[in-house]
Structures are given as C-alpha cells and as structure tokens.
C-alpha cells in the first residue's frame, strides 16, 4: 500500500490515474509485469494466485512447507490490498491524502500483531470517522470492506 502511495506521490498521480502495481518491472518480461496488482489481484504475473475477495481466500497451513507461504500471507494479502484500492478510488483525488492517512493511522496506532482482517476493516472504518467524520470517506471505506467480503 505505502509503496504504491510513494509511487503515486512521486508521479503526481490521482487514485484513478495510478497503476496500483507493486514491484512493476522487477520480473523478467516472460513472468509478468509486477509482483502484485492491488487493482486486479491475481493478474500481475505468471503464478500470481492472489484473491481479491474473501470468496477466493486460501486457507493454507502455517507450517514449514515453503509453498504454503507462512499460512498464505503473501497470497491472501490481495484481499486487504484490493479493499484499499476500492476505498482510495471511491474517495478519489490523491490516495495519500485521505485513504493513505486512514490506513497509516490504523496500522500504526490501532492494530496489534494478532489483528485479523475483520479488525483491520473495523478499525479503518472507525479511523475514517475520527479523521473525516461520518461522511463520504467513511462510507467509501465501509463499502470497500463489504465489496471484498470481509464485512457482511
């Protein structure tokens, strides 16, 4: 998220102008264009299996098999990544000014090492309300988490 925001800030891009790719150009061309796509999880490279919603959540064991990705942390991160993209584009404008502030404040002051997706959803909604009131920003964050299936 914050890597993409740095890129957007450096390029002066609004949320709808950004490519929302992580690690663009890091792979040889035959493998794909980037490591992740927050806009379209699962499409960035050859073996990109990231889901964008909870319907594609991969319940992998947190064991020492390197293929299980420590319980799927790099695979299932497509879901909160996509929620951030949805919130940022719904709010509009420069993503670092509102959506970025909501997520940064939440991650640094409201979550713990054992927080789960639902905690992230609920805390970002509460944070949006604290920072911007119960208006369009908060509604956009709420809608994003509903869209990816983390909140019913």
């Amino acid at each position: 998220m914050f890597g993409s925001l740095v890129k957007q800030h450096s390029l002066g891009q609004t949320a709808d102008q950004a490519d929302w790719l992580i690690g663009e150009g890091i792979l040889v061309p035959g493998l794909g264009e980037a490591l992740r796509s927050m806009k379209a999880p699962g499409t960035a490279w050859k073996y990109d299996t990231q889901p964008g919603t909870m319907s594609g959540y991969q319940n992998l064991p947190d064991d020492t098999d390197p293929r299980n990705d420590n319980g799927g942390v790099h695979i299932n991160s497509g879901i909160p990544n996509h929620a951030f993209y949805l919130a940022a584009t719904a709010i509009g404008g420069n993503a670092w000014e509102k959506a970025g502030k909501i997520w940064y404040d939440t991650l640094t002051t409201r979550l713990t090492a054992t927080s789960d997706f639902r905690d992230l959803a609920e805390k970002t909604i509460a944070c949006a309300e604290d920072l911007f009131g119960a208006g369009a920003e908060t509604a956009a964050v709420q809608s994003a988490w509903h869209s990816v299936g983390v909140l019913p």
Partner: protein, 141 residues
C-alpha cells in the same frame, strides 16, 4: 502448471519434518546425488527451486557437494530436536530435497532454524554455475 510435489510422509501437525522416502532415482544417468533447495515465504512470497546434480559438476565440486550433504545428514536429527518452538513471522522457509543413490531425504526448516551445515549446503548450491533456478507456483487451488 504446478509440478508434482515430492513424495513424502509426515506426521500430522508437525511443524517441520526430516524423512526418507526410499524412492528410486529418476534417471539411470543420474543415480548418485542431486540437491534441490526450495524457498518460500519471506518478503516477496516467491517459491524458488535451486537445484544441482553431482553429475553436472567437475569432480572436485561433486566431492564438495557430497561432503556438505554428509554434514547435513549428521546435523539434521539434532537440528530437528533442537529447533525453537516458535518461528519468526513471515520468515523465509526452506525445503531441502536430497536424492542420493535412490534414497530421498527431505528437510524442512525456517530461516531462523537453519543449522550451519544446511546454510552451507544451500549457499554452495546457490553459487554453483551449473545450478538450475526456477520459480514454482505457490500452494493453492
């Protein structure tokens, strides 16, 4: 397309395993020794497979590979017994697959649990110009 995983047996619920499967060599031209290091997790989440066969190496390097495999075999049981119960979140995970004269040994350890012998073997495989390096698909549907 996902490649078939190595045959293995494993006690349910074990966090890592060291086991022999006794499978036959894949090719009569490669009956001796090959080593594959599969890594996953870590910062990027890629699954990579770095492999080398003794028959692709000059004699001296093949001896170096065998010497390191022997050290791993000696170390592995104690490494399993001594491994810490917890792992560092999101750390790099290693699966070491050794095929030696028809017998397969598979060792799974997290980065923070690697004994020096396994680290030395992995580094040796990584630095051999004869090695192959592939990116594998992660687990999933």
């Amino acid at each position: 397309m996902r490649e078939p995983r190595p045959l293995r047996s494993r006690a349910p619920g074990t966090a890592s395993a060291f086991y022999h499967d006794g499978m036959s060599a894949e090719s009569p031209h490669d009956p001796d020794l090959s080593v594959a290091i599969i890594r996953g997790g870590g910062v990027g989440g890629f699954v990579t497979r770095t492999a080398v066969s003794a028959d692709s190496l000059p004699a001296e390097a093949a001896s170096g590979l065998r010497r390191r495999v022997r050290s791993v075999s000696v170390d592995a049981a104690s490494a399993q017994a001594a491994r810490p119960s917890g792992r560092h979140p999101d750390e790099l995970l290693y699966q070491v697959v050794i095929d030696d004269a028809g017998e397969r040994t598979t060792l799974e350890l997290a980065e923070s649990q690697l004994p020096d012998s396994v680290r030395d073997l992995a580094e040796y495989v990584d630095t051999r110009p004869e090695r192959t390096l592939e990116i594998e698909p992660p687990a999933g549907p």
